[in-house]
Each structure stands twice: as structure tokens, then as C-alpha cells.
Amino acid sequence: MDQPIGGRRSPLNVNWKHLLSPTGNTGDAVFRGLLFISALLMVLIVGAMILALAAKSMPSIRQFGFHFLTSSEWNPVKNEFGALPFIYGTIVSSLIALVISVPLSLGIAIFLVEQAPRQLARPVTFLIELLAAIPSVVYGLWGIFVLAPFLRIHVEPPLQHWLGWLPLFKGPITGIGLLTGGIILAIMVTPIISAVVRDVLAAVPGSQREAALALGATKWETTRVVLVNGAPGIAGAVILGLGRAIGETMAVTMVIGNRAHISASLFESSYTIASVIANEFTEATQDLYLSALVELGLILFLVTFVVNAIARVLVWNVTRKMSGVGNA
């Protein structure tokens, strides 16, 4: 320990150790250097992901350009690759998932944060978190053998009977298709959305609730005040759920039918970006076919990256700002 005590540091004894660590201690410099390298690797991994995926999808990008996104022809035999059916399937199944899971998650979060007594809220929160711990492939297995037959027998026939005049509910009833995929996704994203909404609601300061109650608001009106306060964070939670739904692979692959075509009917089989990669990647022997699949992966990466970034910013803003207000 022959280092000068802090404050007496002159430009003369600035060396590599000081560059790495303000204390100038050798151990500190090495330690901090190692940690910095790990953190830097984290950034490099993200960069490498983009580069590797982009490089491998170059043949497909060169061959098809923007046409890749608008063509609905996916024909490996003729070397024609268009991603539109997968984009359609991904968007529609994710939307079905959100339509079901957003109200459900809001209900769960409101119940657990605003209404349920603590002794009940804690174990129930744990149970709902367990839903998120079930692996995708297990949801898929359950989807094939339990959910799909259930929908085929008990849900889809009445839907077609009463709402069959809508193009959404026309077509053959098989239990396999967009609707089943969407419902499985809804179950899978509900614990994620409700967990984030719970955090957001819990971050809304108690003074907001007290103010509303003091003005004579009912319990439900108070909850509405809380919801309005947490709105950006709730939006973030929904977008986070959307990101998960877009990228979810195994469960959807197992119940959506895996057929590359576009149909207005929710009963028809469909295909998502993630499931076509899972299903056809090991079969792709020609370079262009593989390249088209990697390009789908690149699209998935970029879309989920942007979606997640937006969600994080929204959620961070609310939970940080609110807890700041709460402490003041």
C-alpha cells in the first residue's frame, strides 16, 4: 500500500491503475477491470447477435428485399420466401392473447393490491407466479391434449352457432388454430402482465388513495384514481406482455396448426414467425431457405427489442417517479 492518500494525487502518479480505479490499488484495478470486461461483453453479445443474424440473412435480404415482408408465398421447393402469413399469424395470435389477458391481469392486480387482505394476497401472488414458471412445452402438451379438444367440443361449436355470420368464426372446427394459439398465449402472458401491473399499482403513493377517499370517493372510484395514475406503467405492462406473446414459440407451435396461409377465420390453422423457425430450421438444407429463416429470426429480434425497450421505459418512469413522490 504505497499509494498516496486521496487528495494528494498529482498528474505524475496517474498510471494504468488510476485509469481503472480511482483508488489506484492494484487489486482494485484488476477487480474493476474484470467486472468492466464482463459488462462490456454484455454489450458485445447484443451487438454480435445483430451482426450474426444480419450476416446470415444477407442472401435472403438481397434476393427478396422488402418483398419478403409483403409476399405471402412460402415455398421452399420453388425457393420463394415471403413472410406475410407468419407476420399475420403472429399479430393475430398476440392480439387474441392481449384481448383476453389484459382485462384478466388488471382484475388480478387490482384484487391483489387494492382489495385482498395481505394474508390472502401473498399466497395467491405466489400461485400466479407459478403460472409463469410452467415451461412453454408443457403448455403446448396441455394445449394439444386438453385445451384443443375442449375448445373443439365445448367452445367453438357454440361460437360458430351464434356468431358464425362473422368471418372470424367461419370454417372447419378442429380445435387447432389461431384461437387455440391465442388462448394458450393469454394464459402464458397473464402472470407477466399482472406482475408488472401489481408493481405499478403498488408504486402509486398511498397519499393518492387517501386524497380520493377523503374527497368522498367510493372504494371503486379510488381504484380508478390509482389506475389513472399508473396508466403509463400499465401500458408498459401490456406492451411487455405483447413482446412475450410475439416471441413465444413452443406452445404456439404445438397448437396453431403450422400452415402458412392467411385467413380471416380464427378457427383456421396458421403459423407464427417463431413457430416456423422452430419447425423448419433443421429441415432447411438450402442456403436461401436457411437464410430466409434467419431473417425471420432477425425480424423477431428487432421487433421484440423495440417493444421491450418501449415497455421498460414506460414501466421505469412510473415506478421510479412514483416511489420518488412517495418518499418526499
Partner: protein, 263 residues
């Protein structure tokens, strides 16, 4: 209104219970000691998931060996030195990485590991799982270390300990149980991953411990059996699911019991 929100909660909990009970009922029938140690056989001859259990353990060990030190190092960096712009960037990228679909990670590892080595391998599968694990471990480590009181650091520094000894000898041990919790949850999470293994570890019908060879895993085996046309394999898929869920649920419940004491 309370009725409605309680109903939402009941639906979610109900679905969980239905799924878990169904797995237990379907799985228990095909479960036997032989099933747990045997390797797969052709339809009609029984067979088991011993190779898949061994393969999953190999993959988990490999990814933990790569992912845990790396993830913890990133977490320590973020909590101790991550105040500046670079720290925010790393934190942001780590958070967004947790949301990247695992199938994309699989494609990435395929292009950087499988293609150069020219075949599927346990190593590629382990790397793919490690990449999923790192951001989870990093963020939980950071959060846990932030809970360590500042006075503890100041105490160690005041006694003349350099920063590295303060962090390694005082701060990390104080947060150790939290870091271990995060690590276990991350392992539970990756033990259920299938998509990133499909074209990295690929799967195998034999016992294999070579890191440069394809290796079986519980999840991929469940997937292959589930989409097969044979009833016998469907039954085996349920039994394998029961084994996998037992592993995952026990980790979650153990973590729950340990964390209840502290918070």
C-alpha cells in the same frame, strides 16, 4: 367490483390447478424406476427418459458454469460501478435481453457455434441456455447487492480494506442468499427451455456425455413425443412432464421458503 376482480384471480389460479392436477394424473401412470433410468426404445417396447434426465443435467451444469460467474460479475458491476452512462446502457441492454425470444437465442448460437463446429452439440445448447440465464442472474444480483446497507461498505473501507476486498469479502457474502435465490430461479427457468435447444443441443436417443455431440433433454423429448402419433409416447411425454414439473416446482417452492424469512 370486488367480485369481478376476485373472479379474475380465481380463473388464473383455477387454470394453474387444472394444469398441475392433470399433469400429475396423466404422468403418474407411466412413471416407474425403469422409466427414469432407461433410454428411449421403439414404440411398443417401453423405454424411458434416463438419457434425457442426464442430458438436461449436463446442459444445466454447463450453462450454470458459464452463466453464473458471468451474470454475477455483470450484476456486481452494475450495482457497484454502474452509475454512469455506460452502466445505464448495460442495464438497459440486460433488461431488454431478458425479453428476447429464446428461439432467437437458438438461431444466434446456431450461427456462431453450430455452423463453425459443423454439428449440433451439448456445448452449443449450454451456451444458448447460458445466454438466457446471464441477464436474469445479472439483474437479480444487482438488486440483491443494492439491498446491502451502505454502512457495511463504509465500515469495511474505513478499516482499510481495498474496494475489491470490501466487495468480495463483505458485500457479496451479505447478499449471498439473495444471489443464490436468483441463480436458482434462473436455473428453474432455463430447465424448461425447449426452443433454444432444438437446433443447438438437438436431442439424442442415447446416453451421451460428450460436449461436442448432440445431447438429449427432457424438454425436447417431451416435444418430440407430444407431436408424435403414438399413444404410448404421449403417455411418456406426460410422465416426463411430471418429472420436469417436479424439478421446477421444487426449486420455486424451496426459494419461496428461503425468501419468506428475509422479507
Amino acid at each position: 367490483m370486488t367480485t369481478l376482480t376476485a373472479l379474475c384471480t380465481l380463473v388464473a389460479v383455477g387454470i394453474l390447478l387444472i394444469i398441475l392436477i392433470y399433469i400429475a394424473m396423466q404422468g403418474i401412470g407411466s412413471l416407474s424406476f425403469r422409466f427414469l433410468v432407461d433410454s428411449p426404445r421403439p414404440v411398443g417396447e417401453g423405454g424411458g427418459i434416463g438419457n434425457a434426465i442426464a442430458g438436461t443435467l449436463v446442459l444445466l451444469g454447463l450453462s450454470a458454469a458459464i452463466g453464473l460467474p458471468f451474470g454475477i460479475a455483470v450484476g456486481v458491476y452494475l450495482s457497484e460501478f454502474g452509475e454512469g452512462k455506460f452502466g445505464s446502457l448495460v442495464r438497459f441492454l440486460t433488461d431488454t435481453l431478458t425479453g428476447i425470444p429464446s428461439i432467437v437465442t437458438g438461431v444466434f448460437v446456431y450461427t456462431i457455434v453450430v455452423v463453425p463446429l459443423k454439428h449440433f452439440s451439448a456445448l452449443a445448447g449450454g451456451i444458448a441456455l447460458a445466454l438466457i440465464m446471464i441477464p436474469i442472474v445479472a439483474r437479480t444480483t444487482e438488486e440483491m447487492i443494492r439491498l446491502v446497507p451502505q454502512s457495511l461498505r463504509e465500515g469495511a473501507l474505513a478499516l482499510g480494506a481495498p474496494q475489491w476486498r470490501t466487495t468480495l469479502g463483505v458485500v457479496i457474502p451479505a447478499a449471498a442468499s439473495g444471489i443464490a435465490t436468483g441463480a436458482m430461479l434462473a436455473i428453474a427457468r432455463i430447465s424448461g427451455e425447449t426452443a433454444p435447444l432444438l437446433f443447438t443441443a438437438f436431442g439424442s436417443r442415447f446416453f451421451s456425455y460428450y460436449l461436442d455431440q448432440p445431447v438429449a433433454s427432457l424438454t425436447v423429448q417431451i416435444y418430440n413425443y407430444a407431436i408424435s402419433p403414438y399413444d404410448e409416447w404421449h403417455a411418456q411425454a406426460w410422465a416426463a412432464t411430471l418429472v420436469l414439473m417436479t424439478l421446477i416446482l421444487s426449486i420455486n417452492i424451496i426459494v419461496r421458503i428461503f425468501t419468506r424469512k428475509r422479507f
